[in-house]
Symmetry: C2
Subunit: 164 residues, 2 copies
């Protein structure tokens, strides 16, 4: 995730739930920037307090082994989901978060060219630290990859983000 998130609502959205999308055409974040045609262009929606979800189908150029989404691209999908979840937990307040720690467990291959669902949710918050978790599941809701992370809130100033 990059930059602050601007929350927009789209009444015509196919799914209910508030959308958390950076519609700014100049938004270039590899994960969520709708203006980055080489990026993932993820569009998350809030599914509950501190819970977000997005759908994604990876093109083959994001595969590692043929037909399997590269582990780093899966990390990018989950990094976005967890960061959006931390932001969503605070109801869109304008603040910065940085990734501090990020752990993944790869359970089953994530297929490219097939619909995937990426979820993130807040586990707990202690002061400036947000513990978040998420997963990538397939169209049958089968678990593919799990992740947990700790993000840190940086109040009141622009920060050089850790990693994203």
């Amino acid at each position: 995730m990059s930059d602050r998130i601007r929350q927009d609502s789209f009444g015509e959205a196919p799914d209910a739930g508030e959308w958390l999308v950076r519609e700014d055409p100049d938004a270039r974040c590899f994960g969520c920037g709708q203006g980055n045609e080489r990026g993932l262009r993820l569009r998350f929606r809030r599914t509950g307090p501190g819970a977000v979800e997005a759908e994604y189908e990876a093109p083959e150029h994001f595969a590692g082994a043929p037909g399997v989404v590269h582990g780093g691209i899966q990390a990018a999908l989950l990094d976005e989901a967890l960061g959006f979840a931390a932001h969503a937990a605070d109801d869109g307040q304008d603040f910065d978060l940085v990734t501090v720690e990020f752990s993944l467990r790869y359970r089953r291959p994530a297929p490219s060219g097939a619909p995937l669902r990426i979820r993130g949710r807040l586990l707990r918050r202690e002061g400036r630290d947000y513990w978040v978790a998420g997963e990538i599941v397939d169209a049958s809701d089968g678990l593919l990859t799990e992740a947990t992370a700790r993000w840190r809130r940086i109040d009141g100033r622009r920060v050089p983000r850790d990693a994203d």
Copy 2:
């Protein structure tokens, strides 16, 4: 990392050390496939037993926050380094590895558009499991991001890789 690694030597390589590069123009792995013009096209060289290194300069479309390499792209860089290190440890034997666990710690922002060095090394091996570690450092060898992972060797058969 995807597929088995074919080791090629390039006498004209600017750096000494055996190169571990999949020169196959059809190699499409997002991380190491030289034939994937949308990928990272990493070229690792062996720097010691079970130790590899590559240089990379990330274009801005791989940034998260402006000027900072996206955390997921950093994960892709490190995933490749750690996988190559595990392979390098076995002297290029032909076998498959899958990522089981992968953890990252983001210390400082990794700048896009600047030379980065990505390193991987084998920590220990127990049976089919390889514990590997690596880091991304800047041009001054300053630590930016650290990673550890456990890879598992899958002998004698093609496998649906976990994540890459």
